[in-house]
């Protein structure tokens, strides 16, 4: 059954182009601010001057996933996704309090510009810094490459020529295109997206990233609020939408287990509990978040950021749930392969009959586009800082001057952008699974060493390195077991686990029914504490410098 999607119209392009222009302008303004001081400190850490709004709305977790993956899950599985995302109610509090104050302080006391810098300074170990740097670059590279594809898809949907091509616009006919993930509009979208995001990030660095992030976050909020106001009346209210969805799918759509294929439970209780670990600790210990709390202007900024982000999340996530429920009535037959496009499609569908609807659709569409751009831009900065500061300057050319480092940084950032673009010309099939793996591994790798660095005097470099490696290694091991689960279970080596989680061709092995990140964190904690106790305590002078009162500082 083919469902006609309204034309995107020129208003959509105008709105998106306006957004790109503003982002580029912010990049240029940021560049002028960076020029004022030392290049690296300005470019990678914004001169440690982040204020409340930039901190609150950019330091954590809005990403392409918020507007692509999450809506797709709600549309496919139902109200269980509310439970899946429930831990976000705590993210503002945990994201800024678990590590915030101490990381802001430690980064100053160790003169750290990056997270590996901080580990290196805190544990007085270049190896700890290098291990952190390599892990961060490895994880973020995969996550960034995946976001490029999401950006290209939004651009594709926004193109009037593409929208006018009715053959591409009937959802049923859309399937072959979606199956290959390509089509000329995809390449144009990919090109525009890559040039924009790499361009403004390259010019303004960290500040360009957080300023455009802030601007885009405000657009996202506007987009969600407008879409909610348009979608709910069209769907006849939330209860009606839920009942209609249950009629289309099954009773599980309204329950906590979630709707899924026969024999497949989307969210068993164990996985629901695991998400309280994934979101909370993954958010607090993600390298892009840690570096932003390091850039906080003062502790008052961190406090007020909790309130701003708390209000923001409340206005984003619950409305998104309602919008995606409404989509079940407004767009009842979006095929699973296109469910990532629910929000863009809802934007086009709900504004079709409105005067100036095309511009409104553009505003709403800029939400997912902005989310993807801001994520890519923050990852770009962290990856470039890793390559330039933690590897090039630290190990290859310690005496490089500002001018030289600036040229290297620009070159690195362009190279990273080109690699991401080329990787997306033919997107990897299991990219989404890699993203999930990288998020979990990142949390399992960095949370324990970060907490040890912040609060435990007895923590040693060997303990921190061990915690990073066993945390990420455990997640990697359980993911690999998932890959071979069927054959291992058939030969009796492994107890099979009932199918659960997202319906993908790849999922990790859920040992005892919980996400690998829970085991990763446990292993990381045991190793970190154990190895620290077995190795020689850090020098008393170091601990005094990093934990003692500031008046003792020279």
């Amino acid at each position: 059954m083919a469902e006609h999607l309204p034309e995107a119209g020129w208003g959509v392009s105008v709105a998106l182009v306006a957004m790109i222009v503003v982002s580029a302008w912010l990049g240029a303004v940021a560049q002028r601010v960076v020029e004022r001081g030392s290049f690296l400190q300005g470019y990678f850490l914004g001169n440690r001057g982040l204020g409340v709004w930039t901190m609150a709305l950019t330091a954590t977790v809005q990403s392409g996933g918020t507007f692509m993956g999450f809506p797709s899950l709600v549309y496919s599985h139902g109200w269980a996704v509310a439970l899946w995302i429930a831990a976000y109610m705590l993210v503002p509090l945990t994201g800024f309090t678990l590590l915030g104050k101490r990381f802001a302080q430690l980064s100053r006391r160790t003169s750290a510009l990056t997270v590996p810098d901080l580990f290196r300074g805190r544990f007085e170990s270049p190896v700890a810094g290098l291990v952190a740097s390599l892990l961060i670059m490895f994880f973020l590279s995969f996550m960034m490459v995946a976001q490029f594809k999401a950006g290209a898809i939004v651009m594709k949907l926004a193109m009037p020529q593409f929208a006018g091509d009715s053959a591409s616009l009937t959802l049923a006919d859309d399937l072959p295109t979606a199956a290959t993930g390509l089509g000329w509009a995809y390449y144009v979208g990919l090109g525009v997206f890559s040039v924009t995001v790499v361009g403004y990030t390259l010019f303004g660095g960290f500040l360009a990233s957080v300023w455009t992030d802030l601007f885009q976050s405000v657009l996202m909020l506007l987009g969600v609020v407008i879409l909610l106001a348009l979608a709910l009346p069209l769907a006849g209210g939330l209860e009606h939408a839920t009942r209609a969805a249950v009629a289309q799918t099954g009773p599980e759509f309204a329950l906590a287990s979630g709707y899924g294929p026969a024999g497949h439970t989307f969210l068993p209780l164990g996985l629901a509990g695991s998400m309280f670990f994934v979101w909370i600790f993954g958010g607090a210990a993600s390298p892009a978040s840690m570096v932003r709390v390091m850039a906080s202007k003062d502790t008052g900024t961190l406090r007020r950021s909790i309130v701003v982000l708390g209000g923001y999340n409340l206005l984003i996530y619950l409305p998104l749930l309602a919008i995606c429920m409404a989509a079940r009535v407004i767009l009842p037959s979006v095929p699973p392969s296109n469910s990532d496009e629910i929000i863009p499609r809802m934007a086009l569908a709900t504004t079709a009959g409105l005067p100036g609807g095309s511009l409104v659709a553009g505003l709403i569409l800029s939400a997912p586009f902005g989310a993807v751009m801001s994520t890519v831009s923050s990852y770009l900065v962290v990856i470039a800082s890793g390559l330039v500061h933690d590897v090039y300057q630290r190990f290859l050319h310690p005496s490089a001057n500002d001018r030289h480092l600036r040229n290297v940084t620009y070159g690195v950032m362009m190279a990273v952008g080109i690699v991401a673009l080329v990787a997306n010309l033919n997107p990897v099939q299991y990219l989404q699974a890699l993203v999930v793996f990288c998020t979990s591994s990142g949390a399992a790798a960095f949370l324990v060493p970060a907490v040890m660095a912040a609060y435990w005097r007895r923590a040693t470099a060997v303990g921190a390195i061990g915690a990073m490696l066993t945390g990420s290694g455990t997640v990697l091991g359980l993911s690999a077991l998932g890959w071979w689960e069927k054959s291992l279970a058939a030969s009796g080596w492994l107890a099979p686990v009932p199918p659960a989680g997202q319906v993908t061709s790849f999922h990790p092995y859920y040992l005892c029914g919980v996400e690998p990140v829970v085991w990763g964190l446990a292993m990381s904690a045991v190793t970190g504490v154990g190895l620290s106790l077995l190795t020689r305590p850090p020098a008393a002078t170091t601990i005094e410098r990093l934990f003692g009162p500031s008046c003792r500082e020279a």
């Binding site: 303004v29 601010v33 004022r36 001081g37 001169n47 440690r48 001057g49 982040l50 204020g51 709004w53 930039t54 109200w79 269980a80 509310a82 439970l83 429930a86 109610m89 705590l90 509090l93 945990t94 800024f96 309090t97 104050k101 101490r102 802001a104 302080q105 100053r108 006391r109 300023w211 209210g237 939330l238 209860e239 839920t242 009773p251 309204a254 329950l255 906590a256 287990s257 209780l269 629901a272 309280f276 906080s296 202007k297 003062d298 502790t299 007020r304 909790i306 309130v307 708390g310 209000g311 409340l314 619950l318 309602a322 609060y455 005094e544 934990f547 003692g548 009162p549 500031s550 500082e553």
Partner: protein
């Protein structure tokens, strides 16, 4: 030992422990509500509150609002401000674009 500790370390550790306690409490409450009323339930029983299925409203929407209220109180009334700059060098430049 603690008398040689920076006040920021003490306050940050105390606040982090409280927040971990809140995390554990919310985890238990939300999973408890979902386990009791969200799983394996006949659909005829299901009621709706403000358009949400009852288990979503009581288990997720209400604690979400509660968490926002608590976070606001905790951040504005409980958490303390401590100077960050150990060496007295203050942050260079203010970066907010709106107010220069």
């Amino acid at each position: 030992m603690t008398d040689t500790e920076d006040p920021l370390v003490r306050s940050a550790r105390r606040e982090a422990l409280i927040v971990l306690g809140v995390w554990l409490g919310v985890l238990c409450y939300t999973l408890g509500v979902a386990a009791r009323w969200g799983y394996g339930r006949p659909l005829d029983d299901l009621t709706f509150v403000c358009g949400f299925p009852d288990w979503v409203f009581w288990g997720i929407v209400v604690p979400w609002v509660g968490c926002f209220v608590f976070s606001t109180w905790f951040a504005l009334c409980y958490m303390s401000d401590v100077p960050l700059d150990a060496d007295g060098s203050s942050a260079a430049g203010n970066e907010e674009p709106a107010n220069g």
